[in-house]
């Protein structure tokens, strides 16, 4: 069921199992039949942890999304809702949600029906004092039988990815100075250490990294003497503040998975795609007629595709440069048809049986191939557009430091054409970052252009970007030094058979991943100068293992002989799929000094990242965001 989580060096299925058990513990505390009211935002994440049938086994009879008004408890004609004994709210600690919860409870209390109901609330991932106060203010706190918390912070997305999916993490920490999210990060790290052992080495770069390091060291002191003795499975923790590398998320990702995210947006490892491409693929001609009729109805419902390494084909192509995906797909297609042809050679009964036994596998492979071919086509349509190519070209110029101190005509054109604001801002921020800020005159020119075109209210958003350091007035120029020392820009990238991580952006190596790469070999001392240029403190800490575990480490002639270490890299403020791909690429190298497990507050792309910071949320007029 969760087999795709097992394959990594650190078994994340275990993490999921623990999360599952905790959820069931919460449910089991309320005895009797239950109705669960979900915060909409949580249904996706919880879906990764437990399936409905499991909840059903624990007497969850009904589930509703959290909405103001009456709980539809009695709406069923069968009367199943009538004798629900417990109503459980599972929500994030958001003040605005408390009003809805209170409304629900009060309305339900007004006409209690035949059976008395008990109300419970669980906060994910943690209780908040403010919410509890709010509930008290609203006069329902006393009605609640349980006010608990369900500590689901990191969600296991894949065998090497954990994410909190916290939208506001970056904004809260870097713009508003609210470190709540970092506290959650620290807590999640403590939980990771409780399950997988103390992580002996901690490195980090950035202000938030320092905060988190301080917190986990402190929390460890707090629980002194009660640690469980588990030999460390993770050798090293690397914390990276997103604002250390603001450039990478601004660039258009060019890996397969990255592009899917850029164009369609992946949430909770699932993507919703326009259905047109998928409906017609059915090779049963007899049903063609019906199929066509169905097609008429279908396109309203977007096609959902689960994206994780359980899909063997996807696990191979997800991290490739998109240019390398086409060849791989056609190679697969050839193999598949060859396999299919084998049936003709199968003369003997045993040979046929052998073929039939493989048939299931072949069909699954075929399905997957069809799906990804369709997705690839959809993406190609987009990437072949002139506007896409132009943007890409501008990005390449910026990262090479070409004319970053002049007004860029492509950006100008985009504004003149009134292309989506986010696209403009993304390019503009990139120019500012690669130039360490813009000359005041140029800055004012761009800002004025934007305000005149998109409206005065966007001045507030621009200020937000300024606060984040994405837009600013020119300072000392450090980007060229950083670019050269860390070899961020590579010529002659082999997209088909890459030799360097820069393939993920067809020529640009993400700064954050370079930091990780240098840390693993030869060590950060070699890039001392660059680290000083990057914002925030550099962190190097060691955690002393509990005495019981210390001796066991240096075993002579260790039979496992596994010298590859495991590094947990935690991105504070988000990580992109392209960076994940680059890290995986590093892990897969033959002489890799370390393998990576990735944790983050959210998997981001330039679009949703900027969006989260803007003051007035930009609602794209088109159905799919254009970039």
């Amino acid at each position: 069921m969760a087999t795709h989580l097992v394959s990594g060096r650190v078994n994340l299925a275990f993490w999921r199992e623990v999360a599952r058990r905790e959820l069931l513990d919460c449910l089991d505390k309320c005895i009797g039949s239950k109705a669960v009211v979900w915060d909409d935002f949580l249904t996706g994440p919880i879906g990764l942890i437990a399936e409905y049938s499991l909840l059903k086994e624990h007497e969850v009879d009904r589930m509703f999304p959290l909405r103001p008004g009456h709980l539809p408890l009695k709406s069923t004609s069968s009367g199943a809702g009538g004798n629900i004994q417990n109503v459980i709210f599972i929500v994030r600690p958001r003040l605005e949600l408390m009003t809805i919860v209170a409304d629900n409870i009060r309305k339900a209390e007004e006409n209690p029906g035949r059976f008395r109901k008990e109300f419970h609330i669980y906060f994910v991932p943690r209780k908040s004092l403010l919410c509890e106060r709010k509930l008290t203010e609203l006069g329902v706190y006393g009605t609640l039988n349980t006010v608990g918390e369900y500590n689901l912070d990191l969600l296991p997305f894949d065998s090497d990815i954990l994410s909190m999916e916290s939208d506001s993490a970056f904004k809260d920490c870097y713009l508003q100075g609210d470190p709540t999210c970092m506290f959650h990060v620290a807590k999640s790290l403590m939980k990771l250490q409780a399950l997988y052992g103390i992580i002996p080495n901690i490195y980090g770069k950035g202000e938030c990294s320092r905060q988190v390091t301080d917190m986990i060291m402190r929390m460890r002191r707090e629980m002194a003497g009660t640690e469980r003795l588990i030999s460390p499975q993770i050798d090293c923790l690397l914390l990276i503040d997103r604002n250390v590398d603001l450039l990478t998320p601004l660039m258009t990702q060019l890996t397969y998975e990255g592009l899917i995210d850029e164009i369609y947006g992946i949430t909770n490892a699932t993507v919703k795609l326009p259905p047109e491409k998928f409906a017609k693929k059915d090779d049963d001609p007899k049903q063609g007629q019906q199929q066509q009729q169905q097609q008429q109805d279908l396109p309203t419902e977007p096609k959902k595709v689960q994206l994780n390494s359980a899909d063997e084909l996807f696990s191979v192509i997800r991290d490739r440069n998109f240019h390398a995906v086409g060849p791989e797909l056609s190679r697969r297609a050839k193999i598949l048809s060859a396999q299919y042809e084998e049936r003709k050679d199968a003369k003997s009964v045993s040979a046929i049986r052998q073929f039939v036994s493989k048939l299931h596998h072949i069909q699954a492979a075929k399905m997957s191939l069809a799906t990804h071919t369709s997705i690839a086509e959809l993406i190609k349509e987009r990437t072949d557009k002139e506007s896409f190519m132009d943007s890409l070209q501008t990005q390449q110029e910026f990262m090479n430091g070409i004319d970053t101190d002049k007004i860029n005509s492509h950006i100008e054109d985009c504004i003149a054409r009134k292309e989506p604001l986010i696209k403009v801002l993304r390019l503009l921020c990139m120019q500012s970052v690669t130039n360490n800020g813009l000359k005041p005159k140029i800055f004012d020119y761009y800002r004025k252009e934007i305000l005149q075109t998109y409206g005065f209210e966007n001045n507030l958003s621009l200020q937000q970007l300024e606060r984040a350091g994405l837009l600013r007035v020119q300072e000392q120029k450090t980007y060229p030094t950083i670019r050269k020392t860390l070899k961020l820009v590579m010529e002659d990238v082999n997209e088909q058979n890459p030799t360097d991580i820069s393939y993920v952006f067809s020529g640009y190596a993400p700064l954050s991943v370079r930091l990780a790469q240098f840390l693993a070999r030869p060590g950060w001392r070699s890039i001392d100068e660059v680290l000083r240029l990057l914002p925030g403190p550099t962190i190097e800490e060691k955690q002393v293992l509990p005495t019981g575990l210390q001796k066991k480490r240096p075993m002579i002639g260790d039979s496992q002989g596994d010298s590859t270490k495991v590094t947990l890299i935690y991105f504070l403020g988000g990580v992109t799929y392209a960076e994940i791909a680059a890290l995986r690429f590093l892990s897969q190298q033959e002489d890799a000094p370390t393998e990576f497990v990735i944790a983050t507050t959210k998997i981001i792309n330039g679009h949703n990242w900027l969006q989260s910071m803007l003051e007035v949320p930009q609602t794209s007029t088109e159905t799919t965001p254009q970039r």
Binding site: K127, L129, E222, A224, R417, R447, Q452, N459, V616
Partner: protein, 833 residues
């Protein structure tokens, strides 16, 4: 030295022996005329309480005050209580060594061993009204609790099962009980405690909901009444003594009879108790009779008054001068020391002795037990554990150690453990400490409880040494002991805060897992706030530390600590409290001094208290944010005039904040709104709140070019952007003629591609074609592609001999085989040239 077996007395086929635990302290000897006192002794070698028995007439010396003395098992005085409460019927100890004083009104007062009053509880209304006439304290080892049972003047029995959770329950009544029962006792069970009550010779078994009459037929002698009862420590066995001197021994459920023994004494014994589970001991005036289940007996003469205290494996005999232990000689000890024993352990012991005498016999003995060496070693180790005297322990351990040398794979763990435990046992048995535990008792009691008892007696140093010696986990051992020590320390009010804080820090300094908050709480309870604050400095757990600091009104420290912890919930907790407590101005001032707290508070204000937000910005002269807030408010404002007011205010504040750009932008917005309002009135079209771009766009599209031109000049529209806008607006409105005029009006600053592009955007290929020709030749191929005329694009590219452009076209014609083929031929031709 006399042989070990010298003081052994046979009882059937086992032996019993008396061991002197202590010869009592002088003070005890002066006080303890046991005849005059109620005596209570806690099980497991616990403390002794003495209280003058008012029923016994004695000569009163000094004041007539009643005093309760508390002594250790070795007779050292621990404390005394000046009794000034009611009439005490009975005293007893709980398993957690609390002294229970049961008064005749049913009140039970609880004291600790230092005579400090802890709490009280009551046995119920009825016992208050009809007075308690008899009471018993009992221990139930199956759930590890101590209970109290009382017999009221109405002959009803009330029971509290656990003194820590006192709920008095009434037992079933025995019908027709109009005089005190002949005897009664409490029999502990797994889930419930029963009362066994004798009314003459009839026995009743009672609990809360049930009453059963039991018939016990004695075979050897008539019985008129059972006048004494004794239950064994583990509640499995029972002894009944009848008025005719018959002693019945059987199981506590009365189902089995082990023996009936005729003591031929008509006199009620002063005490009837079990010695472990193997024998019943009756104590008459100067006679101690130990009776085994096989009717065997031993007689001891008693020369002074004594009190018998049953233990789980033995019996303590407390006298004015001595404290003795009566026990069955443990099996292993018997095996080794019994005369003529051939057990391997015995042989090993002999071998060791011979070896020390340098006799070759040692070798002979060892040879005899060659095959059973490990068993022999084990026996010696166990026997050492069962011995009370360090000398015999040493002999046996030496034998075990000697035997180990001959074995090849004898596991040393047992030996080491026993040595360690014996050291601990001998240390706590010491006269100064006075906890005479046997090895079996320690096993039953567990080490943790032993540590508890040492802590209870304030034997910090010994407890500390033991926990270090046995390497107990810190949470059970060291940190707990130090925590308790510190709590005790802060209660000593005569020592100044400074000194206490210093000495606590010195001792506790680097021990992890200390609950400083507990200590601080204690200090706070004692009214030593300053000390508490000092102590809390050391508490690593912010979640414990901050709330306590708050109760002590140390807002500054609590806020600092909360921020340090990174737990924003804690910060909010402090902030909300401070917001209540402090005057507004002071509160805002304090926020200003703590930027992190201020940021968090701002977060809260944005959602909950917009007014406070403004106050904060005002206080901090944060003009930038004041302006932003005004702008933000203006965006949702429906009334134009109000919106303008807000924008004016914003402009003002931007100016104060020296944000020139925003100031100008606001100014422009105000200007734009003015234009929009006028135009809206003039043209009866919706213009308000559009962006400048959209306004001009609309003007162009509505064919109001003049106005558009005016705005363009007013707002310094860049030329290029204006062209883009105008083309798009005209194409969008389908004003193709106007568009063409515009194209010809001047040379386009943005070339002619946008014309093609925007015509195509608005689906007019014909118009687009017009402009395609004007596009510079090198860009024209792209234009054709955009228009979808791929054939022409291909032709053109071929003409221009641009392979790059050909590729561009080729990429677009997926699915168009014919054209693809054509382009490929073109490419080949180009290649040839």
């Amino acid at each position: 030295m006399a042989h070990v077996t010298g003081d052994w007395n046979p009882l059937g086929d086992v032996f019993y022996r008396k061991v002197e635990l202590y010869s009592m302290d002088r003070l005890w000897q002066e006080v303890a005329d046991l005849r005059k006192f109620k005596v209570a002794v806690a099980p497991f070698g616990g403390p002794i309480a003495l209280m003058r028995d008012s029923n016994k007439i004695t000569q009163v010396r000094g004041s007539s005050h009643i005093v309760i003395f508390i002594f250790s098992a070795a007779g050292k005085e621990i404390s005394r209580i000046n009794w000034d409460s009611g009439n005490v019927i009975h005293i007893g100890w709980s398993l957690s060594e609390d002294l229970l004083c049961i008064q005749d009104d049913g009140t039970v007062l609880v004291y600790n061993i230092f005579g400090k009053y802890q709490r009280n509880f009551n046995m119920g209304q009825e016992s208050r009204e009809s007075k308690v006439i008899e009471s018993k304290v009992f221990h139930n080892t199956s759930y590890g609790g101590t209970g109290v049972a009382v017999l009221t003047g109405t002959y009803r029995i009330y029971v509290v099962n656990d003194v820590h959770n006192p709920a008095s329950r009434k037992m079933m009544e025995v019908p027709g009980l109009d005089a005190p029962p002949s005897s009664w006792c409490v029999i502990g069970g797994d889930r419930q405690n029963h009362i066994l009550l004798a009314r003459d010779k009839r026995l009743y078994k009672l609990d809360r909901s049930d009453m059963q009459q039991e018939i016990l037929e004695t075979k050897t002698k008539e019985v008129n009444a059972f006048i004494e009862m004794a239950v064994s420590f583990d509640n499995r066995f029972l002894a009944l003594f009848s008025d005719t001197g018959l002693l019945w021994i059987g199981s506590s459920d009365l189902q089995k009879t082990y023996c009936e023994f005729d003591t031929s004494s008509q006199m009620r014994p002063r005490q009837l108790v079990w010695c472990g589970t193997g024998a019943v001991v009756g104590y008459w005036e100067n006679l101690l009779l130990v009776i085994g289940p096989q009717k065997d007996w031993i007689k001891y003469n008693m020369d002074t008054d004594a009190v018998l205290i049953p233990e789980n494996d033995s019996l303590h005999i407390l006298q004015t001068h001595t404290h003795e232990l009566l026990q069955r000689v443990p099996g292993v000890v018997e095996d080794i020391f019994k005369i003529g024993s051939m057990a391997p352990g015995a042989m090993l012991y002999e071998a060791c002795r011979e070896f020390q005498k340098e006799s070759q016999k040692a070798d002979e003995y060892i040879r005899m037990i060659k095959d059973q060496l490990s068993l022999a070693v084990e026996q010696c180790i166990e026997a050492a554990g069962a011995e009370y005297e360090p000398n015999s322990q040493k002999l046996l351990l030496r034998a075990a150690s000697f035997g180990k040398c001959f074995g090849t794979n004898v596991n040393a763990d047992k030996f080491v453990n026993m040595c360690k435990l014996l050291r601990v046992l001998n240390a706590v048995r010491d006269y100064q400490i006075g906890i005479p535990l046997t090895y079996d008792q320690l096993k039953k009691l567990t080490l943790t409880v032993l540590m508890d008892r040492l802590i209870l007696r304030r034997q910090w140093a010994l407890a500390q040494q033991i926990s270090q010696y046995l390497k107990l986990p810190e949470s059970e051992g060291e940190s707990r002991i130090l925590g308790h020590w510190a709590c005790y320390k802060v209660e000593q009010k005569h020592i100044p805060d400074e000194l206490i804080a210093q000495s606590i820090k010195e001792k506790l300094g680097d021990t992890p897992g200390i609950a400083y908050s507990e200590i601080a709480k204690k200090a706070s309870e004692c009214g030593r706030t300053q000390l508490a604050v000092k102590l809390l400095e050391y508490e690593p757990r912010a979640a414990e530390q901050v709330p306590l600091l708050m109760t002590m009104r140390d807002s500054r420290t609590s806020l600092r600590k909360a921020i340090e912890s990174g737990d924003t919930d804690l910060v909010y907790m402090v902030l909300l409290q401070l917001k209540e407590d402090l005057p507004r101005g002071e509160f805002l001032m304090m926020l200003r001094n703590h930027p992190q707290a201020q940021d968090l508070f701002l977060q809260l204000c944005r959602e909950q208290h917009p007014n406070l937000l403004l106050d904060l910005y005002n206080q901090n002269d944060n003009f930038q944010e004041l302006a932003n807030t005004a702008v933000r408010d203006s965006l949702t404002e429906k009334n134009l005039q109000k919106r303008l007011d807000q924008l004016n205010a914003a402009q003002d504040n931007y100016k104060k904040a020296a944000n020139e750009f925003s100031m100008k932008a606001t100014e422009e917005e105000i200007k734009l709104l003015g234009y929009q309002q006028r135009m809206q009135e003039q043209y009866k079209e919706q213009f308000l709140y559009l962006s400048l771009h959209d306004t001009v766009h609309k003007l162009v599209a509505k064919n109001l070019g003049k106005m558009a031109e005016q705005l363009r000049k007013e707002f310094k529209f860049p030329d290029k952007r204006f062209w883009w806008l105008k083309i798009d607006a005209l194409a969008g409105a389908g004003e193709w003629i106007e568009l063409e005029r515009f194209a010809k009006s001047k040379k386009s600053p943005i070339g002619y591609e946008p014309f093609v592009e925007l015509c195509m955007k608005h689906h007019n290929k014909y118009e687009a074609n017009k402009y395609a020709a004007k596009v510079a030749p090198e860009h024209r191929v792209k234009m054709y592609i955009r228009m979808g005329t791929l054939d022409e694009a291909a032709e053109l590219a071929f003409q221009q001999k641009s392979e790059e452009d050909l590729n561009l076209v080729l990429r677009q014609c997926a699915g168009n085989r014919q054209l693809s083929a054509k382009i490929n031929t073109m490419k080949q031709q180009l290649g040839k040239k």
